[in-house]
């Protein structure tokens, strides 16, 4: 098992013929993802290698979508996928206006669709399907579910896990923006329900209080062991640390607060990224 996507999920790529879209569509297909086609309005009927291009999502007959279109077209592209009930809709694109993100999340809720992102590296169920831009060679099939607000930091920790013989069920980047679809809570819920996942790694960072809420949720709902790492312990208040969501406002959003909340519910928080595998081994 795995969460959200597996080898059967029929995936369409919106914005497949752009520079990024082309590269990653080909790579996802190469990894074994069941890519049923790309969508670029006006290019319907063309082939990109062995991947058919459609004018609309409807024509592709897919279960899930990955979006690479420029930020200003994300709202419309996502609405197209949501209105057809595709799920998940993975929005790789960054710099999506937060008003558009709020609109989409509310619309997706009405259609019972899971949005991943925006501004996410996507997700991978190793050995089954890659629905995103994560570097697949560092992943290994296994029993650790990983959820993260960060991209490269995820790769860093995945690399450590894999090197230490700890494969992954699914690894999911929820995205670095303030308003995102799948969040820690909804992802933890899926991992709890997923039979293959035996332990969960949660990678947080400064800004907001998603980790504090996750701690409460873990206390009340999660029976599987959870290990965490929080980035930004030395970040100053009021400054946006790369991610739009990574900013400490006043006293809220600090790493200390998050670590304390997690520790309080029995979640071990690694001091440095490379310590995560050891903590996982302790709890497994």
């Amino acid at each position: 098992m795995s969460i959200l996507v597996d080898e059967k999920t029929k995936v369409v790529v919106q914005g497949a013929t752009g520079h990024q879209g082309q590269f990653h569509t080909t790579r996802m297909k190469g990894y074994g993802t069941n890519i049923v086609g790309g969508v670029t309005p006006g290019k319907g009927g063309q082939m990109m290698g062995d991947i058919p291009i459609f004018d609309s999502v409807e024509e592709a007959d897919a279960d899930a979508s990955i979006i690479f279109v420029p930020a200003r077209f994300v709202k419309s592209s996502a609405l197209e996928a949501i209105s057809l009930g595709l799920s998940p809709v993975v929005c790789i694109t960054e710099h999506v206006p937060v008003k558009d993100a709020m609109f989409l999340m509310d619309y997706a809720r009405q259609y019972d669709v899971d949005i991943v992102g925006p501004n996410t590296p996507g997700l991978i169920s190793p050995g089954k399907a890659l629905a995103g831009i994560l570097p697949p060679h560092i992943f290994e099939r296994g029993e650790v579910g990983l959820v993260s607000r960060s991209g490269t930091l995820t790769y860093e920790i995945i690399d450590e896990l894999t090197k230490n013989g700890l494969g992954q069920s699914t690894a999911l980047g929820i995205g670095g923006d303030p308003v995102i679809g799948m969040d820690f809570l909804s992802t933890l819920e899926r991992f709890e329900a997923d039979k293959e996942t035996k332990a969960i790694v949660m990678i947080g960072e400064i800004g907001g209080n998603a980790e504090e809420l996750a701690a409460e949720y873990i206390r009340d709902n999660i029976t599987k062991p959870v290990v965490s790492y929080i980035a930004g312990k030395t970040a100053p208040p009021g400054k946006r640390m790369g991610h739009a969501g990574a900013v400490i406002s006043g006293k809220s959003g600090t790493a200390e607060s998050k670590i304390a909340a997690l520790n309080a519910v029995g979640v071990q928080v690694a001091t440095m990224p490379h310590e995560v595998p050891k903590l996982i081994k302790d709890v497994l």
Partner: protein, 370 residues
């Protein structure tokens, strides 16, 4: 993108929110003409994009012309939290009977705009939230249909107003929400919203526009050179499209991906070092980007070491290596790289005498213990 008080107030006026407006000067010589127009006393307010202006002496009352000139000169000569005061807002003081707070923020957890209001205006709303959360009224806005007038009336009522006062306040709240929506703001605040004998009046104004939406708001064309939101180095980084934050240590940091860079700072700190900056070159950076990144972080004086942390996914390690060599750093550089083209990068760097670390903690330790 943060707007200055007077810029935000101009938008308030456009939307019909009663506002204590005034005149903006950059030069004390222009003050007398304004005093002639609006009379005395006056309030002089430094136009800077940081909080705590008042405490820092950036807001002064003046009762005579001489006092006004002297205080205006003082304020226009100040730096507040590192930012020089370039503009001064001159306005007539209002007769304040009570101060309220009204604002809209993006609520990450609800994934909706939240309307916040409180009878405890004039002080930092986060302090109110901490000390007496029951004094904050919250109302969520449906992201699809937008703000509704009855929500504003409900909040105005809960703030303790009735009849026409309730309607006037609701109308101000509604207009504020419309600005939030129309202008793609991520934050808008009136603090304080004063009750005066003439009615409600926005004495201060805070407005932060979502940078990601600027493409559809040509009215906010960012003039980086004129911007008072960033330090000089931050401006150069912004122009180069790199996420840069200045910090007060001496170990320069470059990494790819915001999370990895934050972790890099933390690891440097863990080993007793002090990061000089945050710099994310993003994914897929080439040699030129790397060279530019090094230029930017070395604009800061007093750098003792540079820690470069690359996990090459889309990013090719050899490009990064070439960028380092092109720049020829004069400060010791500690490079951790792995991933795409790692071996090529190792050859390039080794042949130039640099060591290449495979783990970030080892590289960080070396950069600190140098």
């Amino acid at each position: 993108m943060k707007l200055l008080e007077y810029e935000a107030k101009d938008i308030f006026v456009e939307y019909g929110i009663p506002t204590s407006t005034g005149y903006v000067i950059e030069d004390v010589d222009n003050l007398k003409a304004i005093l002639y127009k609006i009379g005395l006393p006056v309030i002089l307010k430094a136009q800077v994009l940081v909080g705590g202006r008042g405490k820092a002496g950036g807001i002064k009352m003046a009762k005579t012309e001489d006092e006004a000139v002297q205080k205006a000169r003082d304020i226009l000569g100040m730096e507040i939290k590192g930012l020089p005061v370039k503009k001064l807002l001159v306005c007539t003081p209002s007769e304040i009977q009570k101060e309220l707070y009204v604002g809209f923020v993006v609520d990450r957890n609800k994934k909706k705009m939240a309307l916040l209001a409180s009878t405890e205006g004039g002080i930092d709303i986060e302090q109110v939230a901490e000390k007496s959360p029951e004094k904050i009224i919250k109302e969520y806005i449906d992201p699809i249909i937008g703000i509704q007038d009855y929500q504003c009336r409900s909040v105005a009522k809960k703030l303790g107003f009735d009849g026409n006062n309730m309607l006037s306040l609701a109308s101000i709240i509604y207009k504020l929400g419309k600005i939030m929506e129309d202008k793609d703001a991520e934050l808008i605040e009136i603090n304080p919203l004063a009750i005066t004998p003439k009615g409600f009046e926005a004495l201060d104004a805070k407005l932060v526009i979502d940078d990601n939406s600027l493409y559809r708001h040509k009215e906010f064309e960012l003039d980086l050179k004129e911007s008072q939101e960033f330090t000089e180095i931050e401006k150069v980084a912004k122009e180069a499209g790199l996420a840069y934050v200045e910090l007060d240590g001496d170990v320069g940091i470059i990494g790819c991906g915001a999370g990895l860079v934050m972790a890099s700072l933390d690891v440097i700190n863990h080993y007793g070092g002090k990061p000089a900056n945050f710099l994310d070159i993003g994914g897929g950076a080439n040699a030129d980007n790397m060279k530019k990144a090094l230029e930017i972080i070395t604009m800061k004086s007093g750098l003792k070491a540079i820690f470069i942390n690359i996990f090459g996914g889309i990013t090719k390690c050899d490009e990064i290596a070439n960028g380092i060599l092109e720049f020829k750093p004069t400060v010791p550089v500690y490079v951790r790289m792995m991933g795409t083209n790692e071996e090529k990068a190792r050859e390039i760097l080794n042949s130039a005498g640099y060591e290449l670390y495979q783990s970030m903690q080892e590289a960080a330790k070396a950069a600190v213990k140098r």
